[in-house]
Assembly symmetry: D2
Homo-oligomer: 413 residues x 4
């Protein structure tokens, strides 16, 4: 018969508490550096769980104001769990990581999507919108998320780690710091900054370390904000539970770290990720790897009916300027087109932007032909309670309230 | 019983011959201008067919050298069929276009994918590769395409018009010419050029026109190379047969033109497109449209198993430079990662690039976080005869020959 | 440049005219028999087209009465094109058939779905409904079909041959006739009959044949109504364009015949099918084949949102009788549940039944647990113009008219 | 910040222990009867969890022999959790049940698939195989299951409740007992029996009840083996997490019960299901409901590449007998064809049958034309580690061991 004895739970190699500030906990770090020792070691083939705090380390609450977003301390992010070493992995190898599951903590069935202040975090539209903090809390009900701040929508999550990567070698780290330093120097006055150099303030490694190692890590450790050759903050929603990812290995043990779990694209969540790893010797050479490659999951949500918006590399939502095959400008226009459409349905611009940041939208790169890049953004129709199709009678603006905003009532302009 | 009398074929409103140079045929034009009169008028609800030559107007042949690509006359492109006016459409309306079918000519069951010369056509990697002309001929066997120039691959097409749009108003045309003119002036020395100004040489409108109208169209008409607010050369593979597209209307009758049919993403094809149109009055305002929006087709190929490559906005395949959240750079790295992988399987770089240009790959924009954009490129596994997964034993380089290259044997470097 | 000379159309090996009665045409037959000689021979790897009349051989017209269905001569069906021999195929081999395309004749862009008279054709609900002839004409507009007889619906077709198979050996034919003869003898009084024995009346082989061969074929030839070990009338909608099918070979040359093309599940259509064949020697043994196996197409329509009806093996729509794990009874209940639902939307029972016969519905076998089989029928929501979901306010019955019925006005009861 | 106070876990309304025999626990019952009182009551809109033991109530262990299957006490099944009443539901209403999640217990990450003895449980092939007990244990690793007893396979689960339904009214219960009684009487000697009458032995209701109520429930309560008008044991894999199901209500409060959770089709699992319910007044009439209807989940696994086997209603794996349009016979032939194919890959017949019972296969009903039903069974290719396609070189039989069999070594014949 079924007994406790013949039932072996999957072991957890990093345990954290989502309600305790990250910098008071073991097994968490927030910079990339080769000298951060592994907090656990697993064997190829082991199945194991890693618990993660949300990326801010419990700074954001389940409430109806965005003041916590406004005041978030970004020197302290992103909080990653690990590193976890894999026995036998060596530089040049390929670490095969099966992302077997991503689940929220049972005691914390919610997450959030935020718009950051222009001066503190910024974001894709920081300058266009002169961003003020805003927030939506998402409640997780099994496979679905919905928000009291964005009524009329429910979607199935594509749960994935926003941030996952192997540790860089010292050489790779030095390369990052050098090339990003050049860019920063070229745009010294930019607000928000174009990139973030190493920053000892807020740096954290939650384990016993010799002082000189800690100082070196804090002084040199790469910020976790962008994705890089080792993976990192790629926010690839298709790196979801069920996917298999191939990482290049740069240090002995590979030293895998993970954090910033997303229930869906773009929303922050604490939770538990289940892994299994294996090693392909000399995989970097075998597969000509300069960055991770991966196989997507067979269990991503299937919303076949979509409404697709186009954008080109002309800032027609702004000053009308023509850019040279710039896919980022095109992507922003497509998003702005979608936001304008959603506003016709009664959503505020803040709600619309938060929705696009969290829902299972897809953005494709179409043609890049001189001088325009063409990018599309696809919005699944099935996530809306009402019919949102463009019909002859036009769109109906319902009363949708507003998302969580600053307690002083200020919203972006 | 079934009789000819009770069976009414769908009417064809523009007829062309794919074997006759485009500039010897009626119903074709290759510039965007409001003064090009419609060659046919349909009523809302009509189902009708439009025949299209390939975008070069029969310049490219089904042969095993790329000299025709090398020498292609690009002042003559893209050859569009139309315009077709829709009764009752007025500026400010939305033209709803059902793309009901896209089929090759029965007498011409093939198409091609080309890499253009750096100095004549260029392309995304023109500078990186110092491009020399190359070509793959694709044979269409029902829903599938395969190429003697890229062995080991067969894929189901996502047939779509690469180029479709409504006519611009004079005001919109002037805006285009102005903003692109600024960009051209800023990069006067660029090779390939960053954009193409109006060019009377090679301009063509295949209908009787007063001389002064013809001269004005040739002098002012916008080149067809980029996509713009009216649609145009967006190469959106999901605008495939079965999709419904909503275009803004800028001139009376809407004046829809179409060309550059693709059997699959990126390959040129002559063929026949079937449409049905309707009008939503005042649709631009109703849907806050600044560009077309569309509903994808339910019949696109479904290849669920994919191998996905990542790229960030660091030119690590080149000089290692860090770019500022540039999705185009990231997209190029992802493509270069895929090309490097395919080379491990024995494909030449030219074959690999042509394959990515024609096969049903998908490119998604992931995170754009300072300073990196992260873009992915997904390659369907099911289009390969062999297993291409990254397995422990590495990849096997088969003998794959080469694509069509220049008769002087020169390939890019 | 593109020329007629470098463009080779795909050859057609069987040509027919959909407007001429089948029994006046070459290359058509309507019985299965090993002694019917091939009308064409192809080589492995050849791509070729076969034209097909509709299964009745032009008996049904594009009109608004069902009298042609009522009076259809079923001794003359199904009209198959072929046989086509494949060089080198021998008994015991496996014939690999790529169904590359299925297209309607350009001159006949329509098909039909019919309900047959209880006494002439019958059908699944012949007895329950005391069936009277009814019909819907479907117009083909590219990838979509719609019907003036069933308003409010448009769906993408899953075009496939309803009837395709290799020729039986004499031994296999004898087995069929013997086992079906037993069943017929056991249910001699059944109306409609439980099976159909060989029937010389209406038999047809459209080629020159020695009299004794013709007489033997007409006397012994198996009727084409059911599917059998060689394929035959399986009406498997997933055997659609793009699929690859593996047939057992029973006679030299395999002798492939095909007919009863469907634009979608269950509607009759004349048209053109494109094939390519290859041979796997000794494939029957290699794959333990007792019937065809196949790989579905990557291009079937994707309607992810569905409304699913259940049915069990209790005739609760009739006398309430409990059947013993009978999946056919369960299937019928699921269909009757769907029909009842559609009637709430304003469709007549005849319209609803015709719609289920033609639309891309899917029926799955769930549990078969004593004493009930459980079968589901899934109706794609996206094929309806209106929202048909079961909402709180109930369903709205629109005026939907009626399908084509008998000119005497009689409908089933 | 995130705190325990602003985080409310989803409440659990029925708690059980998967390691304690079901008949020693509260909140479990194993018969359908209107007089079983609800063990919990929820309000429309509440989100709540229900824990379930496996359907046998802990009789089956995680070990390598099938003796527990052989000796399973089937009078005690299926163990259901509930009933849960929904405030305001009345006979004639429709109960809308959102199945929000299905998860295994963290402490019991495994399930099993069994073949039952001919004389104790039987099953679809009980007579054909003269079934002897066999078993496969499946380990759950996040979204995937794999088994040490069936090597070479890993699949994403389609987690769903095998058994879910509302309580019958006394009138409906009487109908069930009457109609099944007739069938049993007609096949009094059948082994396995064609159906199971009410059986006081093994009956269980885990709550305080007046003796006469308990006696009535045990005496009259319908067995849980088949699906019926209220839902029940339908084993519909698409009733998975994310689906929305509409149940007819027969008693005040609806009294929903659930059990027999499946990680994938056909394997037993203890676990936790998350629900939310609402009520549509008078829904039975509104939707013409005679059985549940449902909307499938957007998150079912997508394995687009499949190998599909056909079957017709001729017992060609047995005595060759022709059946009359019998979809069950056809379904069995399709399954036997798949099993024969899998045996060519080295799997034992028991392994193959267990695999088909657990993996995400799909069975469709194709044509039902006199005298043959045609049924297909689709096996996803992506669940196999190796390539299983039918290639020219045939199939390679690997050493696959055997599943768990009886400790006396007896397997079916």
């Amino acid at each position: 018969m079924a007994t406790k004895e013949n039932s072996v739970p999957i072991p957890t190699v990093v345990e954290v508490d989502p309600f305790i500030p990250a910098d008071q906990q073991k097994g968490i770090h927030n910079r990339w550096h080769p000298d951060i020792p592994p907090v656990a070691t697993v064997k190829p083939g082991d199945v194991f769980k890693v618990q993660c705090v949300d990326w801010t380390g419990a700074q954001i609450g389940n409430n109806d104001f965005s003041d916590d977003i406004m005041n978030v301390n970004l020197t302290k992010i992103h909080n990653l769990s690990g590193p976890v070493a894999v026995d036998g992995a060596e530089p040049g190898d390929c670490l095969v990581v099966d992302i077997l599951d991503v689940q929220p903590f049972e005691k914390m069935p919610w997450g959030y999507t935020g718009i950051f202040e222009l001066e503190n975090g910024g974001g894709l539209f920081a300058k266009e919108f002169q961003s003020r903090a805003a927030k939506a809390i998402w409640d997780f009900h099994g496979v679905y998320a919905s928000s009291r701040h964005i009524p009329g929508v429910r979607f199935a999550g594509v749960s994935h780690p926003g941030l996952i990567g192997t540790a860089p070698s010292q050489e790779l780290l030095d390369t990052w710091n050098a090339r990003e330093g050049v860019l920063i120097a070229q745009h010294a006055e930019a607000m928000p900054p174009v990139a973030y150099p190493p920053e000892p303030i807020g740096a954290y490694v939650g384990q016993e370390l010799p002082d000189e190692v800690r100082a070196k890590v804090y002084r040199e450790g790469a910020r976790t904000i962008p994705g890089r050759e080792h993976g990192g903050n790629c926010d690839i929603k298709n790196l979801s539970k069920g996917s298999r990812c191939y990482f290049p290995v740069f240090v002995k043990g590979a030293n895998l770290s993970v954090g910033d779990l997303h229930f869906s694209q773009g929303d922050g969540e604490a939770g538990i990720i289940t892994f299994s790893c294996s090693i392909i010797k000399n995989g970097i050479e075998k597969f000509a790897m300069k960055q991770p490659i991966f196989l997507p999951s067979p269990v991503d949500p299937m919303y076949s009916a979509k409404l697709i918006f186009e954008g080109i590399s002309v800032d027609y939502h702004g000053d009308g300027k023509q850019y040279d095959m710039d896919a980022t400008v095109a992507y922003k226009q497509a998003a702005l087109n979608a936001i304008a459409y959603l506003q016709k349905l009664g959503y505020s611009r803040q709600q619309a932007y938060l929705l696009l940041s969290a829902a299972p939208v897809e953005s494709h790169v179409g043609a890049i032909d001189s001088p325009n890049a063409c990018v599309t953004l696809a919005l699944p129709i099935g996530i809306f309670e009402d019919d949102i199709l463009p019909r002859e009678e036009g769109l109906t603006a319902k009363v949708r309230g507003q998302c969580a905003i600053r307690s002083d009532g200020l919203v972006d302009s």
